[in-house]
Amino acid sequence: MSWLSFIIRSLRLRAFSSCVTTLMVGVSVAILLVLLSMRSSAQQSFRRGTGNMHLLVSADASPLVAVLNGVFYANPPANPLLWQQFQSLKESFPWEWCIPTQLGDSYRGAPVMATTTEFFSRFQPAVGESWQFAEGVPFASNFQVVAGAQAARDFGLHLGDRIALTHGAWSGEGGHEHADHLYEVVGVLAPTASAHDRALFTDLESTWIIHAEDRAEREHDDHVDHDGHDHAHVDAHDLTDEDRKITGAMLRLPTRPGRDATAAMQGQFDRLRRDTSITVAMPADQVDKLFRIVGDIDSLFIALGIAVLLSSSVAILLALYNSMDLRRRQVAIIRVLGASQMRVFMLILSESALIGLAGSAAGLAMAHFAAMAAADALRAKVGLVIDPTLEAGTLAAVTGGAIALACLAGVIPAARAYRTSVADNLRPLG
């Protein structure tokens, strides 16, 4: 009979207490792992999403909202920018690039960004990492669409599929479907581990056309009897300035290799802020600001996780310590059979370590599913695409810490077993 079998059998004799303490360790390990994994993944995802843009211009209420909407697709921006404003902005400085974006449409709840092909050729979703196409190519003419990796996977989109976009409805409900114009899927992007993965991308002109048609129909309905009329048809050359609206502009200043663009960026930021009709954001700064806001809460959660882990160790200590009252005869018997005091000490300590090990394994499994669920919720609610995986070092530190604490919790019960009087505990009870 191996010692491991002996320990497992001893734990099974106190199955309820063993399971509860193991579960406590598991839950505390899972809480810590989920918090740590979400923190590091969210930070990484936030920093990646802003990519290589220096400034973001929109008509949102604040710079933070501009970044959350324009980069992380939190909500459709409420206020548009006029095309003339974009043209002025573009001509106001020799930007390296200046890319217009228009958000508002959706496909089955996923955001659709209308933009130009520069979005694929100049903007990088992560610094130094250009877009990669898993399939197909960028849109080249009207009513073509490119799907982000997550969107393609979620909706089973493939090259050649024809889809109808919906006006609004980022929550996945309601909205008006642009059923008259189907978009052909011409490209599927490779994953970028950023919020862009769950979006779809199309050209600005198509978006302007379908919204111009919607406007023309509304105007027509206001003046003419509804019966028997055809849908309004709008071509690119029919578009007016009123139709050409965008919701944001991504900007990058010209840079030279090895030169820091921070000072120039700050200068342009200050210059643009003087225009009160627009909101200017430095995305990287806004992400830092967001982390500063949530940083204290984050630390509090980590501290709570550690406190739960410590309390689970106390639970192990109490469970084993209390069990020693019932186990003095068992200890005395194995001592009579030839086990040394140190052997008995190590057996109790091993029981404690095994609870820590089993709890850590359970915690790993629980953390995996909880992190997946949390990642899904973040993607659906906030638009943040995260990969909730942990570095091996963090995993080892948390699980190793849990096992070490469990061992520590076993020292007092083990010492009690060590000191158990053999002769006194072999006598008949009563």
């Binding site: 009979m1 002996f6 059998r9 002769a423």
Partner: protein
């Protein structure tokens, strides 16, 4: 030259904290010999067996098992020596509850020094020989008679040279008492182990040719 005695004690005294001092009779047992340690309750029979097993240390005197002064062994060495050389049977059997009959024997064999590859076969054959029918059943689900057989099997499992039995029949009726004593004595005889049995029961004394009064006042043989 092999040691002619399995157990040799002389001048052993012991005193519990705040208790009276006890002086024990000298005992010598040859290999395979069976003796009864007789005395009424409180004369220190169990204490003497614990001293012989190395579970307590005498205040004075010497206790040699197989020629080894057990008092000179310390800690783990004493425990290891006990596991290999001495088997014990108790009034309440003291089997490990929640473990099967087979596992109780296998655990004793862990300390026997016998090769691990032989443990399972030896445990199975011992239990079969002693008439334990459900070797995989938990001991708490066995009848009292079956538990007694498991306890005896465990005492001789490690091939000890000395078996100590502490009131092994005290809780049994006369019929079962005789059966239990027969089992214990025959098993020890078959395994070649010497047997020192402590009892207050004069009926048990009839089963032994050698009876020793536990207290030092005198021996009757």
């Amino acid at each position: 030259m092999p040691n002619p005695t399995v157990l040799d004690t002389s001048g052993v005294t012991f005193c519990y904290a705040n208790g009276p001092s006890m002086a024990f009779a000298d005992v010598a047992l040859a290999p395979g010999e069976q003796a009864l340690l007789l005395g009424s309750s409180g004369t220190g029979k169990s204490t003497f067996l614990n001293l012989v097993a190395g579970l307590e240390s005498p205040h004075s005197g010497s206790i040699a098992v197989n020629g080894v002064q057990i008092g000179t062994l310390r800690g783990a060495a004493r425990d290891r020596f006990r596991g290999r050389s001495i088997g014990m049977v108790f009034q309440v059997f003291n089997l490990l509850q929640g473990f099967s009959a087979l596992e109780n024997i296998l655990l004793a064999l862990r300390f026997s020094g016998l090769p691990r590859s032989e443990h399972r076969e030896r445990a199975q054959s011992l239990l079969t020989k002693l008439g334990v029918e459900r070797v995989d059943a938990l001991v708490d689900r066995l009848s009292v008679g079956q538990q007694q057989r498991v306890a005896v099997a465990r005492a001789v499992a490690a091939r000890p040279t000395l078996v100590l039995a502490d009131e092994p029949t005290a809780s049994l009726d006369p019929v079962n008492r005789d059966a239990a004593l027969t089992l214990l004595q025959e098993t020890c005889r078959a395994s070649g182990a010497a047997l020192l049995c402590a009892s207050h029961d004069p009926e048990v004394a009839r089963r032994f040719t050698t009876c020793i009064a536990a207290a030092r006042q005198g021996n009757s043989q």
